[in-house]
């Protein structure tokens, strides 16, 4: 896919790249240093080993720098997460019901479907509940997921900015046909959506 289907996808992928980028540098650094030492200080070369018990400056450095790095990771992860939790009041609301092993969707005008239809460029709020065990509503392409728990309502929000069909998967193990509990979200232009939505 050439365009990210939501703005949130771009920010999640940025956080991912940020963390993975730093991680790869650390991993390669650690591994290369280790391998270098094994060759450089190999017993065959007959060095006299030197007992170095500690080095305060070095130890402070390798606590302070990682602390700053992980705090920055926390911060980026948190701000990106806020995007999907701040759902506008005027969002288009859809009620999601999960049961073994099927999702169904109910719209405010009473329409019901097994595939989720949403209008393009419109904030959508999903209000989700379960009829039996725990499920989770997951749209990989949108990078969003939330558990659906019997006895309470959980919610999710997104604003699709690209037309298309995207998979919805159940991500919380729910028994026999868990792996078949797929549905789809269809993002369609506002005018087409309105036509579909208002058709009896």
């Amino acid at each position: 896919m050439s365009q990210a289907p939501t703005v949130h996808v771009e920010s999640v992928d940025f956080v991912m790249l940020y963390i993975v980028g730093i991680s790869v540098i650390l991993l390669l650094g650690i591994t290369a240093t280790m391998i270098y030492f094994v060759f450089k200080y190999n017993r065959k070369k007959g060095h006299q080993p030197v007992d170095i018990e500690h080095n305060t400056a070095l130890e402070v450095t390798w606590i302070v720098i990682p602390t700053i790095l992980v705090l920055s990771m926390f911060y980026f992860g948190y701000t990106s997460f806020r995007e999907i939790r701040n759902i506008p009041e005027n969002s288009f609301k859809v009620e999601v019901t999960a049961r073994m092993w099927k999702f169904s969707f109910k719209y405010e005008n009473g329409k019901q479907t097994d595939t989720l239809y949403v209008p393009l460029n419109t904030p959508v709020k999903l209000e989700m509940h379960s009829q039996d065990v725990n499920h989770a509503f997951y749209i990989p392409a949108f990078r969003i997921k939330e558990d659906i728990i019997n006895g309470k309502t959980t919610y999710l929000g997104f604003t699709a900015k690209e037309i298309g069909d995207y998979d919805i998967a159940c991500a919380e193990y729910c028994g026999l046909n868990h792996s078949a509990m797929y549905s789809m979200v269809k993002v369609i232009p506002k005018d087409k959506f309105d036509q579909w939505y208002n058709k009896k």
Binding site: N55, G77, Y78, V133, A169, S179
Partner: protein, 541 residues
Amino acid sequence: MANAVAENYLQQSTNKYSGIKSWLLTTDHKKIGLMYLIAILFFFLVGVIIGLLMRLELIAPGKTIMDPQTYNSLFTLHGVIMIFLFIVPGLPAIFGNFFLPIQIGAKDVAFPRLNLLSWYVYMIGAILALVSLFLPGGPIDTGWTFYIPYSVRTSTNVSLAIFAAFVLGFSSILTGINFVTTVHRLRAPGMNFFKMPLFVWATYATAWIQIIATPVVGITILLVIIERAFGVGIFDPALGGDPVLYQHMFWIYSHPAVYIMILPAMGVVSEIIPTFSRRTIFGYNAIAMSSLAIAFIGYLVWAHHMFTSGMSDTARWVFSLLTFIVALPSGVKVFNWVATMYKGSIDPQPPFLWVMSFIFLFSIGGLTGLVLGSLATDIHVHDTYFVVAHFHYVMFGGTGTIFFAGLHYWFPKMFGKMYNLKLSKIAVALFFIGFNLLYFPKFILGYMGMPRRYYDYLPQFESLQKISTFGSWILGGTIFFIVGYLIHALIKGKKATSNPWGGVTLEWHIASPPIQENFEVIPTITHKPYDFSQLKEMKNE
């Protein structure tokens, strides 16, 4: 006492009992350690075979060799066996039992009979778990996390299987109590806390978690059984309970349990690196204290398993922040280990090669944990293959690799025999290749959106699934190869010297295999644990 022909602990004539009784009624910490080794290795291999079957099923979409109900039971069993029967008891019960008393200069643990009881409790728990597979109702299919409401509704033998976990918990608690008391009361003269080897520190920190955290899972399991048997509404929403409460209670134990699994492994690494670098550990205090820090901060991060559970946004960011904080002491340890190689005299024998492999795999596991600690990325990859890859890198690449490192390091001491070094170097390489082929594709699959615990999958995941299954054959084959050459060494191996690697902690000062009560004379400790100047004075016949 100081008798040159003192018999080693494996020779039967030194025991009150003979034959099989000399094992089943022994109170010798070394024999109990070996009995754990046999039992734990057996269950580990069962877990490996189940894992191989799961991977075979996933080689292609749709049905390959089993139906979904079987698959669901297998991934549950794989988790239950690997967690409760292999990796939680693993290193403390085997190497902790065998080497903790020796490393502090003790004749045995503080409560030898309790120690034997722990083994029996472990075996009873394991047998209950096995029995639950064959009773009517069928094997448990809830996943090893037993999440409610599913675990209340399924008709499989949940109650018996989780009761087995309850029993196993007691084995863990008793071992913990034994180790804490042993460390406090039985150190040899001169062995103060800061002269203890780091494996002892790590096992000591672990023992505290075993004592404090395990009762929580015991209570949780009892509540689930009460709920299933009597219909009392605690967790099941249909009865007015709260399923998220279950998740909290489960992870309040099971997250600290992750540190029960990894801390002893970190201790073993801190033994092996100085020995093969022939120099003192870098940052002894930092490593010892980071073990305690991990043990205690580890209690405060449990809800990072629940970022999508619908709990409040405040809880989510607090637990995310704490999770990043607990990453730091682990990072410090890795830096210390690598720094210990600096200006050493490095002899990369098999145990050291296992540790190098560990540092790479565990670093990947730890660093991908940062992706899971961060809220936005966790929401996406939670409950996908990314998580599966992450915890296999940490648990199997971490603790599993160190199980083999420890086995190769201490094998000559435990059995007085040496294995084929060339074969075991090949094994490290094959293990490393197979491991990465098996688990690395899962990171990519997870980010692509492949959820975990799936019997079937979409066509776009097929090629990576195939690579993963291919890797499982290399890894599985290597594991059986290792077990094979070690058993061969046991029977036909060359006699090992008392100190083949040039270690200086106390176990290398005594005979291989050790004599009945370890020391002819209880030593008085004057050296720091990794003071290699002792090596000149040590005899090595």
